[in-house]
Symmetry: C2
Subunit: 120 residues, 2 copies
Amino acid sequence: MPWDPYDRNCPSRRLLDRIGDRWTVLIVGILAEEGPIRFGELARRVDGISQKMLTQTLRNLERDGLVRRTLYPQVPRRVEYELTDSGTSLRGPLRALEEWAVEHMGPVSAAQAAYDEASA
Amino acid sequence: MPWDPYDRNCPSRRLLDRIGDRWTVLIVGILAEEGPIRFGELARRVDGISQKMLTQTLRNLERDGLVRRTLYPQVPRRVEYELTDSGTSLRGPLRALEEWAVEHMGPVSAAQAAYDEASA
DNA sequence: CGGGATCCAAAATGATACTG
DNA sequence: CAGTATCATTTTGGATCCCG
């Protein structure tokens, strides 16, 4: 069975890899909270992202069926992004990780300080 | 409050970034299942990793207090790695993500095929 | 406004050789 | 065995220009 997330070539593994990239977690989080949102507004909400990476990340999410892109044919044009049901289902696991990170930040920082101290 | 995982400079965010790197998830998973494990054995279990990245990833995990490194002063020497309590607590959230990935792999692959088809 | 295309700098990773 | 050090390569991301 090729469903082992520990196998680097397994599709589920590749899915995880992409979700773990620099921007996906941020963008999914914002889409989950802000509902449908325009491209430009999203760019402002994601601190420090370049337009290229925003486009690229959104394209990937769209291709994976996690985000829906809606084009309103106006001039100037208007494009809105929102999570699909599939994308929404990712929110839970992601939040669990975020909460873990927030909870363990203190101990981790302390451990780092101790480690650096010991090796100094 | 500087604990917002959406802020790229927040410590919790940086913690997430490192956990999301290419190897950490794999290694934590294996350590969780295999208990204390030697360096060489770990290298064989993590498919495709270079020795350099294994060392680097383990060092980071150790510095964060998520992994404990034990050196047995023999010749040739023997080093074992295992999760700390803190590291073990990461396993739950990580598994939730892995399970999500396995569950959604099918729909995602289908969405990708449809997307590629449409743009062909 | 929402991108696509291109070029370039930087960061991550791999390969290889060496060591206590 | 379990690394360290160094160099080569691949991958990413940012800057810029252009277009409907």
